[in-house]
């Protein structure tokens, strides 16, 4: 073995037993918060992940497969290739959908590895131009700041209610926008008022209190889908849970970590860890956020001070559908006659392994007929802001998703706001008529029907 190779081996071994130290480098990874060598050590290059990967399915290119991406990241660590644009493209073209993690026989954490590599890339090659502006305003300026998110929501409400939207659509003003943004504008849900701040910090349970839970209201969820948050609160309190909405909470940071901005991600994580420190159970109705919160420990992998706190926090996180199912949710009694299909949000199915419970919640509502969606756990193309940054790939995946959605259903249910926006766009684009709903909303309507029928609140 040459001296160079010896040096590399020593370095790789050092990486394997990584004790946090920010001065080390790993091959051509030269920046803080180094990727975790043990993650690629698990990969034996078998290729079982290939066909699970949406970008490989579309391109057939090895470098756009999970195995290929892991290989590229390892190659940088071995000093064979540089951190440059040709390396960055496959790493950033990943949807971070985690389908490969479900397929992998050896449990390789491809998602975590991709995020770590993106962290390196963003430090090596800070974004410039439009992407840089988008990143700065959206990710650093707006999402982390709930006040600004609310303002944005308010502006959107104004846009929708004042008639500007109508004028913009009629006059063709929107035609100056890129197609994918125009498509997106057309499906913006009617923006309600955010729950956080409008609701009290503690919403008491109906009847006897079984348990006290905190909920993450989220940024996109609370601005775009405050009705889902309202439904979540109603469903939980109906089931005897006291719901806490700590005001200090913020954006989960998932979008930042996905984009390689791990520092902002960490700031937001610290904020949430602090905000929820008095809660033993924290529920999330947005799969992407839930997955991110569950992985705060991964984010602080190289921070010995924060790591135990992050581990403790991550252990408290649960998806609301799983929580309700595991806690013997009140079965609705009145029929809700509808035909529905269920789409697995990537970060619920692949990220958190939650597939059975939300389906079961729906099936146990009387009158709900569930129709299987083929390849239900294949990404719809939303993937955080992927549909903004990679409209071509996201559009191709959305078309495939729409083709799979059974023709005779009235509703498409799921557990993530990003997917809801994306699939709503698909419904519009494909001239379909299905209603896009969150799983919890259907349960909420079922309880509502119970109440209407009985003319009084139903005891749980």
């Amino acid at each position: 073995m040459s001296a160079e190779e010896n040096r590399l081996v020593t370095m790789l071994n050092a990486g394997k037993n990584d004790t946090p130290c920010q001065t080390k480098t790993l091959g051509n990874f030269l920046w803080d918060d180094l990727p975790d060598a043990t993650k690629w050590a698990d990969c034996v290059h078998c290729g079982m992940c290939l066909e699970a990967c949406p970008t490989y399915q579309e391109t057939g290119q090895e470098q756009h497969s999970p195995r290929g991406r892991v290989y590229l990241i390892k190659s940088v660590a071995e000093g064979k290739i540089d951190v440059n644009e040709a390396f960055s493209k496959p790493v950033f073209d990943c949807l971070d959908c985690r389908a490969c993690e479900t397929a992998c026989p050896a449990d390789v954490q491809v998602g975590g590895l991709i995020e770590e590599a993106r962290g390196q890339i963003r430090q090596a090659m800070p974004l410039t131009g439009f992407a840089g502006v988008l990143n700065k305003t959206l990710l650093r300026g707006i999402f982390p700041n709930l006040k600004r998110m609310k303002t944005l929501g308010g502006l959107m409400r104004f846009y929708q209610k004042s008639g500007i939207q109508r004028i913009a659509r009629k006059t063709g003003l929107l035609n100056i926008m890129p197609t994918h943004l125009k498509d997106m504008e057309s499906i913006l849900p009617e923006v309600g008022k955010p729950v956080l701040g409008r609701y009290p910090e503690v919403v008491p349970a109906e009847g006897e209190t079984k348990q006290r839970v905190g909920i993450l209201t989220g940024c996109i969820m609370d601005v775009m889908f405050s009705d889902v948050n309202e439904a979540t609160i109603r469903v939980l309190t109906h089931n005897g849970f006291e719901v806490g909405l700590p005001k200090q909470q913020g954006c989960c940071g998932a979008l930042h970590v996905h984009a390689g901005d791990r520092e902002t991600g960490k700031k937001l994580a610290k904020q949430n860890i602090e905000a929820f420190k008095d809660y033993d159970k924290i529920l999330v109705n947005a799969a992407g956020c839930g997955c991110a919160l569950k992985e705060y420990d991964e984010l602080f992998r190289n921070d010995p001070e924060m790591l135990p706190l992050a581990e403790e926090f991550s252990a408290k996180i649960e998806d609301v559908s799983k929580f309700l199912y595991d806690n013997d949710f009140d079965r609705p009694k009145t029929e809700v006659k509808t035909k529905i299909t269920y789409h697995d949000a990537c970060h619920l199915a692949h990220g958190q392994g939650v597939r059975f419970e939300p389906r079961q919640l729906l099936k146990e509502i009387p009158g709900v007929e569930m129709v299987d969606l083929p390849d239900a756990d294949r990404c719809c193309g939303s993937a955080g802001i992927y549909n903004l940054t990679h409209p071509e790939m996201a559009g191709a995946l959305l078309d495939r998703k729409m083709d799979d959605i059974p023709k005779d259903v009235e509703m498409i249910s799921m557990g993530n706001p990003g997917c809801m926006l994306q699939i709503a766009m698909g419904v519009q684009k494909h001239g379909r008529s299905e209603k896009v709903v969150h799983t919890v909303q259907l349960l909420d309507w079922a309880y509502e029907k119970d109440k209407e029928k009985l003319g009084k609140p139903v005891e749980s």
Partner: protein
């Protein structure tokens, strides 16, 4: 050094010619785009290709091949790259012709039980696309989730169910092939089992991409068996398990599958994605499946249970439903990849032995394990004597890769010495070309290389594979060694 902005290299004249044929966006030539093509599922040997070309049609393949012939550039056809012997791995400087975008089913004729697919069609997708009509495609390599039927033809892949149903060659009815001179020929006549003249279909299937590039494949599809039952049997002594295997076959039963895993393999699969909850203190388990006409199945199962019990089985059970059966199979089929959970690297071997010599061979493999101080897990298709010893090692520990390679070669020697073969289904590729000498004399080898020379006279198509090449072979292995110290080795793939 790497902060500077990436400068896009200009394509050279050959790459430019390829771009003119298939389109600019379908040819990759930058190092970062090529590096993930430097090996397939066999990672002990690596080489950088010159370019990767994505083709969409037979015409593309033919034009690309003609161009490369004129330029005297060697080339390799590649599918999903899940092969386990380096069949799609460059030695350095080849152009890779990727067939993954040729993935259509061209024709389905269930009445005559056949389907025509392009080479990039995924193995499992064939069964998935006809299962609702009651049909399936029998060859089921464990990599079937990802591997292509074109690759299966090249490697003559087997699978867990080849004990009863045979390997890929038994399921191929016809091929369209682009020859190394760019000419397109069709071989095999659908529906005619024995054509006059030489059996080119048999010759091409398993030729490991050295005789031509397959662009269209007609395969047999089978009607789903009426009934199917699966048995799991736990043994405290691996010799008892081996004896049971021989007795089941001797009893005249031909199970659809008869698989065995030893304790180290069990440790692997139980630590990975699909744990079944096998007891951890057993020496081995057998996974036995029978299928066919529903009426006879229970009798066969009874007989199997009797044989198992007679051979001191600790516990034996029949899968209670499809979910349980599915889990048992997922646990088994993910077996190679699962090794990643207990060892940083592994090298899988693919020996074949006469079934009755199983206990003796297992004993010798255990000795090899001791000699090289490396753990060896055994996963195998016990029913047809196809062993997959998985040599576990850590490439980051100096010397272990070399020891693993030697141990692997010795395992194959043991198989050859008892009258077996060095490969059952993974192919020879780069990996086992030297070991071909264990089973073939010089004259036998020459007979084969002469055939290659007829099809592939300039040896531009997948050079350096399948046969030992004086001088070159040794070089390849040494070239690989430089990498080994930092490179995880091997995985599951096409054959298994």
């Amino acid at each position: 050094m790497n902060r500077k902005k990436h400068r896009r290299e200009k394509p050279d004249a050959v790459v430019q010619r390829l771009m003119n044929i298939v389109g600019e966006r379908e040819v990759f030539y930058l190092k970062e785009d090529l590096i993930s093509y430097e090996c397939d599922g066999y990672t002990m040997s690596k080489g950088m290709p010159k370019a990767v070309v994505f083709v969409k049609s037979t015409e593309h393949v033919s034009a690309v091949v003609r161009c490369l012939n004129e330029e005297k550039i060697p080339y390799i056809a590649r599918g999903a790259g899940t092969g386990l012997s380096g069949g799609a791995t460059p030695l350095g400087g080849e152009v890779i012709i990727s067939l993954v975008r040729m993935k259509r089913m061209l024709h389905l004729d269930l009445e005559n039980r056949k389907a025509v697919v392009e080479p990039g069609f995924i193995n499992l997708k064939l069964t998935q696309s006809i299962s609702d009509k009651g049909y399936y495609y029998a060859p089921d390599p464990s990599s079937q989730y990802a591997c292509t039927i074109g690759g299966n033809v090249a490697e003559n892949s087997g699978g867990a169910h080849c004990l009863k149903y045979g390997v890929t060659t038994n399921h191929i009815l016809g091929l369209e092939v682009v020859l190394p001179n760019g000419e397109v020929i069709e071989i095999g006549e659908e529906g005619i089992p024995d054509q006059p003249g030489y059996d080119l279909l048999g010759l091409l299937t398993g030729s490991e991409g050295t005789l031509g590039i397959v662009t269209k494949i007609t395969v047999k599809v089978l009607k789903n068996p009426e009934g199917k039952k699966t048995v799991l049997a736990y043994y405290d002594d691996i010799n008892d398990a081996s004896q049971a295997v021989s007795e089941i076959i001797a009893a005249g039963i031909i199970p659809a599958a008869l698989e065995m895993m030893d304790s180290i393999a069990i440790e692997g699969v139980e630590s990975a994605a699909y744990p079944v909850g096998h007891p951890r203190d057993i020496a081995a388990f057998l996974l036995i499946e029978v299928d066919g006409i529903a009426a006879g199945i229970d009798d066969q199962i009874d007989e199997i249970l009797t044989v198992c019990k007679h051979n001191n089985v600790r516990e034996v059970k029949v899968a209670k439903d499809e979910a349980e059966r599915g889990l048992w199979w997922a646990n088994r089929k993910m077996g190679f990849g699962a090794m990643g959970a207990i060892s940083p690297d592994y090298l899988v071997q693919d020996g074949v032995i006469p079934r009755t010599r199983l206990p003796e061979v297992l004993g010798k493999i255990a000795e090899i394990s001791k000699k090289y101080e490396l753990r060896i897990a055994n996963i195998f298709h016990a029913g047809d004597g196809n062993l997959h010893p998985l040599i576990l090692f850590d490439a980051s520990i100096p010397g272990q890769s070399e020891r693993a390679a030697k141990a692997g070669s010795e395992c194959l020697k043991v198989c050859a010495d008892v009258g077996g073969s060095i490969t059952g289904e993974h192919g020879v590729g780069i990996e086992k070309s030297a070991e071909m000498r264990f089973i073939f004399s010089d004259a036998e080898m020459t007979a084969q290389t002469n055939i290659r020379a007829v099809f592939n006279p300039e040896d531009l198509l997948n050079p350096g594979k399948l046969f030992p090449q004086p001088g070159q072979c040794v070089e390849i292995k040494q070239a690989g060694q430089g990498d080994r110290s930092t490179v995880p080795v091997n995985a599951m793939g096409r054959g298994d």
